[in-house]
Symmetry: C2
Subunit: 247 residues, 2 copies
């Protein structure tokens, strides 16, 4: 049978090979904008692909930094711990996004990265990324954009934490998730939350009860339908309006 379908062999080989060039996330991830040629050079440096089980750490605060990580599939959270035990979720990351940028600064990770579902990541040794990006202008520039985007995102979160009230925060959170799922080809209106109410609350600077109440409120108002972690957005405009005008 194999002899009549020679193509099959190629396909199975390409599936096995860990490579940006055959990753369907390449337009969302680090390889964005690279030529075929350049892509292959990037492939060379991504040798390690790792599975991380739900609940496991990809890295922990304090560990020595040597790689950044691209999420191939799955869902992560990052969190920071204070000495007194308080902690805060600093972000939720999905496929195509990079983890570990915080470690460059001190050569040690400054937060924990934990898988919220079984996930797969590509490890990118940072010194090799630096040397390759000295050679590939597009790679260098795009990497800078990614870091800058992280800074802009953080400013958005600061805005949210500093000036918005509970319901506005949750609306902003849902709209952001929706937009990121859309970019990955999923429905913008219907998705599963990978995180608990407590984790959402930690990210939004709220207690889990407040998050829960806000979900109920949105449901009463007909903005969304919630069933546990299953969310359907019924009225995007109301959520957007909620975010922009204080009412």
């Amino acid at each position: 049978m194999a002899s009549t379908y020679p193509l099959n062999q190629e396909i199975s080989l390409s599936v096995i090979k860990t490579a940006c060039s055959n990753c369907n996330l390449r337009e969302l991830c680090l390889p964005f904008g690279l030529s075929i040629d350049e892509l292959e050079r990037l492939d060379d440096l991504i040798s390690t692909r790792r599975r991380i089980k739900r609940g496991d750490h990809l890295y922990r605060a304090g560990e020595v930094f040597d790689s950044i990580y691209a999420i191939r599939s799955g869902f992560f959270k990052t969190d920071v711990l204070l000495e007194d035990g308080r902690d805060q979720v600093t972000g939720f990351q999905m496929a195509g996004e990079l983890l570990g940028l915080d470690g460059i600064s001190t050569e040690h990770h400054t937060c924990n990265a934990i898988a919220l579902e079984d996930s797969e990541i590509c490890a990118i040794p940072f010194n090799r990324l630096e040397s390759l990006s000295r050679e590939i202008h597009n790679l260098q520039h795009h990497f800078h954009k990614v870091m800058s985007r992280e800074i802009v995102r953080d400013h958005g979160v600061m805005m949210l934490l500093g000036t918005m009230r509970a319901e506005e925060r949750l609306a902003a959170f849902l709209l952001n998730l929706s937009q990121r799922f859309t970019a990955r080809g999923f429905s913008h209106a219907e998705f599963y939350l990978r995180m608990t109410r407590e984790e959402i609350g930690s990210y939004l600077g709220l207690k889990l009860e407040t998050v829960s109440r806000a979900f109920s409120k949105f449901q009463e108002e007909g903005y969304i339908a919630v069933q546990q972690k299953h969310i359907r957005i019924l009225n995007v405009n109301s959520l957007k309006a909620l975010m922009n005008h204080r009412c």
Copy 2:
């Protein structure tokens, strides 16, 4: 007289020339870790030095991005505006720190940078910085560290906004300022605030009245002495303790 002091001429020339190589902030700023040789190449790309008067914008949200800026002297704030008029101060920057990193991501600035006192900045054309950092490994690496440090700093602010109460936030803020003044050779215990209570409040996610009350409380407790914008820290340890244990 000049003939008897030939050295004077050299000194005055070096003062006039805009250059990292003779800037006393070079160890805090972008040139950190560069050799004399490399420093001179960096000098070539920093042609523009600009004075910004107190209250004036260095750049505005929405403007096209083409340079990042190093603060040579003075003090800035950055802030973000929401459509509905709410705004939030996202940071205060002092000499040796970089401004404009947020603009790399979209090639447009995403916040406003405003001088809080008469200031002087060096404009660094970003495309030239990228090409130079393709040649100078140290420059590339240090630039990455600076961007990463900004991300880590933002996570700290998120932590502050998400989990700390008013007095803890103000204590963290004062300790952070103190530490940064120290790094610049100023007193760690005595300094002038360049920003108003309202700006501090906006940064810390508090109203100006709450900031004012917290200052008064710290003064009553003997942690600090406040007189308008003049601050003396009398008991660093109490401030640190306040920040770490919830009490």
